[in-house]
């Protein structure tokens, strides 16, 4: 990525919309009860400490980093499960593509099992599936990776709570203030309205914003279906007077 093209405008970040974002305390998701701050957050305008962030160059990436079907598989093998392509754009609140954004993603295998020391679900591990990948967005903010569709899995919350199939995303934009972790769900999954973690979202619009849509135009015949998932990061305020020469 070329720094000259990615220097954003100079204004501070637009405050995070706390009426749209989930609250810290959401009793239906039990773990939040003892892990949610109770004092008011201290609000301040962003400064250099939040308007800067590390640069992740495309040179960081290995050839298979964005191919979860193969990045952990033995030579000649591949992960088991429905083959999918996940693609989309990382945008800011003004609708501008965010180039050079680092995306890291992780997920359960097709049986709903994670490869983790503390995971105890009885579903089988897939020896050819690690469950993580990463990529960096192109100049227009676009990204794409290949994986298998994860399975739903049970988790200890209520006596019979199941997570919808989902992929976790960690997103690094151009300012530490934009730092975001979220999850992608799949259109049509009947577990979505039942899940207490989805249930912390405050509106159907917020649920829809995290639900990827099947895209038959990007689907590769006889190979992989495609799901589109756009991600929006906080934008930076811009005024005529604040614009720099290298701004937008």
């Amino acid at each position: 990525m070329s720094p000259a093209k990615t220097t954003p405008p100079s204004g501070g970040f637009i405050p995070r919309d706390r009426d749209w974002q989930p609250d810290a305390l959401t009793p239906g998701y039990k773990t939040s009860i003892k892990r949610s701050p109770q004092a008011a957050l201290l609000s301040f305008p962003s400064s250099l400490s939040e308007e800067t962030s590390p640069v992740f160059g495309h040179g960081l990436l290995g050839a298979l980093d964005s191919d979860l079907i193969h990045n952990y598989a033995q030579p000649g093998e591949s992960a088991i499960g429905p083959r999918i392509i996940v693609y989309g754009r990382v945008l800011d609140e003004m609708g501008r593509g965010v180039p050079g954004a680092l995306l890291e993603f992780w997920q359960a295998n097709a049986g709903g099992r994670y490869r983790h020391k503390k995971e105890s679900y009885l579903a089988a591990l897939d020896p050819n599936f690690g469950g993580c990948g990463r990529t960096i967005t192109a100049e227009d903010g676009s990204y794409e990776f290949r994986t298998i569709q994860p399975g739903p899995y049970p988790w200890p919350n209520g006596m019979n709570d199941w997570r919808p199939a989902h992929i976790h995303f960690s997103v690094f934009g151009h300012g530490f203030a934009q730092r975001l972790i979220t999850q992608m769900y799949f259109e049509g999954d009947p577990h979505i309205p039942l899940c207490p973690i989805v249930g912390i979202l405050k509106s159907q619009d917020a649920v829809d914003a995290l639900t990827a849509v099947l895209d038959m135009h990007r689907t590769v015949p006889m190979d992989s279906r495609a799901y589109k998932f756009d991600i929006v990061l906080r934008g930076r305020r811009q005024t005529y007077f604040e614009n720099r020469e290298d701004g937008m």
Partner: protein
């Protein structure tokens, strides 16, 4: 009907869950990929300034350490310059990334950063801020990542003049933002999610 503002809404946050390490520090959880975990090393060669270690534990509202959290820090170099594409004031120390990522230990819950003491950075109005490190905490049960700042107890004069610290209403809570000196170059910064010593978290 009035005109519409056609802004997009930020993607809603969701918890990092119990397996954030698979995605962000896979080698830590035994998945051997990428040739190492991002953010594990902040110094890529000899660095300028005072080298320090910051250690801490994130505690929940019952006083129990979180053993599944991930903490990231972001800071300038010893001269106050960021290794960022958005840094316009000069070139930062080429051997210092400024960014660290640490999982909390699966047994003790301790996180740790091998870094340098940050230099001071100006506030938007030009006043100098006290040396500080920006920190971000995610974990199972945390619905949206928590921002806070690590200041230093041995910077009393700079802290007293800091634009943020001096405006905090409950001055008795400032202690929660101060890294405590444990030895030469070693600081402790525990994070309390709830309770009488709840850390000040920022909406910034």
């Amino acid at each position: 009907m009035v005109q519409k503002l056609d802004y997009l809404r930020e993607s809603p946050s969701q918890t990092a869950g119990p397996y954030v390490h698979i995605g962000c520090t896979p080698n830590f959880t035994g998945i051997d990929l990428y040739g190492g975990d991002l953010g594990a090393v902040m110094k890529t060669g000899p660095v300028q300034g005072k080298e320090i270690v910051i250690r801490g534990i994130v505690f929940d509202g019952t006083g129990t350490p979180l053993r599944d959290a991930m903490i990231e820090i972001w800071q300038p170099d010893a001269a106050g310059l960021f290794a960022s594409a958005n840094e316009t004031r000069g070139a930062a120390d080429p051997n210092f990334t400024g960014w660290g990522r640490s999982p909390s230990d699966m047994t003790t819950g301790e996180f740790s950063f091998d870094t340098v003491k940050p230099g001071a950075v100006p506030w938007p109005d030009g006043r100098m801020q006290a040396p500080h490190i920006t920190a971000w905490i995610v974990a199972r049960g945390i619905n949206i990542g928590l921002h806070t700042r690590i200041y230093f107890e041995d910077e009393a004069e700079a802290n007293a003049a800091d634009p943020i610290l001096s405006r905090i209403e409950h001055q008795n809570r400032i202690q929660t933002l101060l890294a405590k000196r444990e030895g030469d170059g070693v600081y402790r910064f525990d994070i309390h999610l709830q309770g009488p010593t709840e850390t000040i978290f920022f909406d910034i």
